[in-house]
Symmetry: C2
């Protein structure tokens, strides 16, 4: 696992094809050929993405007689979730303020005709 | 906001200095000079990181008479959290399996002396 796991994880996730590969692996292990099928991409190009995901510890590969099976390794994604969680109160606070503002507008609308309360 | 917001967000987060800047901004708005203070880095180098964060919509800058104040924009981080959430059952399943295995080991230990049940 790299020294700065989060940096490696975020760098690996900064690509829509790599995120689509991870999404495919939620359903379970599959071969490189199966993984490559939905992409309009050569097998070597897909393999390059798999190497990035593997180096970041997001997938593991099991060598087989015929296929190389890939499986999802979710530990780095747990770390991403925990990292983002530290910011939850920031976006919830923003949404709460928006909610309070909308309620204020509705109250003003209901008391239409009465002099609106100044802030 | 870029067409592929998640890619832009992950690319911006793939740097420890940029993540440290965001962490500093949890406490509230501050000037570029204040943001740069804890880093052993020139002001232009910090400004470069701020531009990356700004382009990704992770911070907003308010021009001031004397300072340029930065504030955190948490909406892209909410998106990161929601994206990671889709993988929660994968890591929880992995932890549950580990837990089940440890319980099995403990049960075997307690029944030490009795013939262990074969799987």
């Amino acid at each position: 696992m790299p020294a700065d796991q989060l940096t490696a994880t975020f760098a690996a996730l900064a690509d829509p094809t790599r995120r689509a590969i991870l999404a495919r692996l939620i359903a379970g292990e599959c071969s490189v050929t199966e993984l490559a099928a939905p992409f309009d991409m050569s097998l070597p190009a897909v393999s390059k993405h798999l190497r990035v995901l593997e180096r970041a510890g997001l997938i593991a590969r099991r060598p087989d007689a015929q296929f190389r099976h890939c499986r999802l390794e979710a530990a780095p994604l747990k770390e991403v979730s925990e990292w983002a969680e530290k910011y939850r109160h920031v976006w919830e606070h923003r949404l709460n303020r928006l909610d309070a503002y909308l309620q204020e507008l509705q109250t003003k609308e209901r008391s239409h005709g009465r002099k609106p309360r100044r802030k």
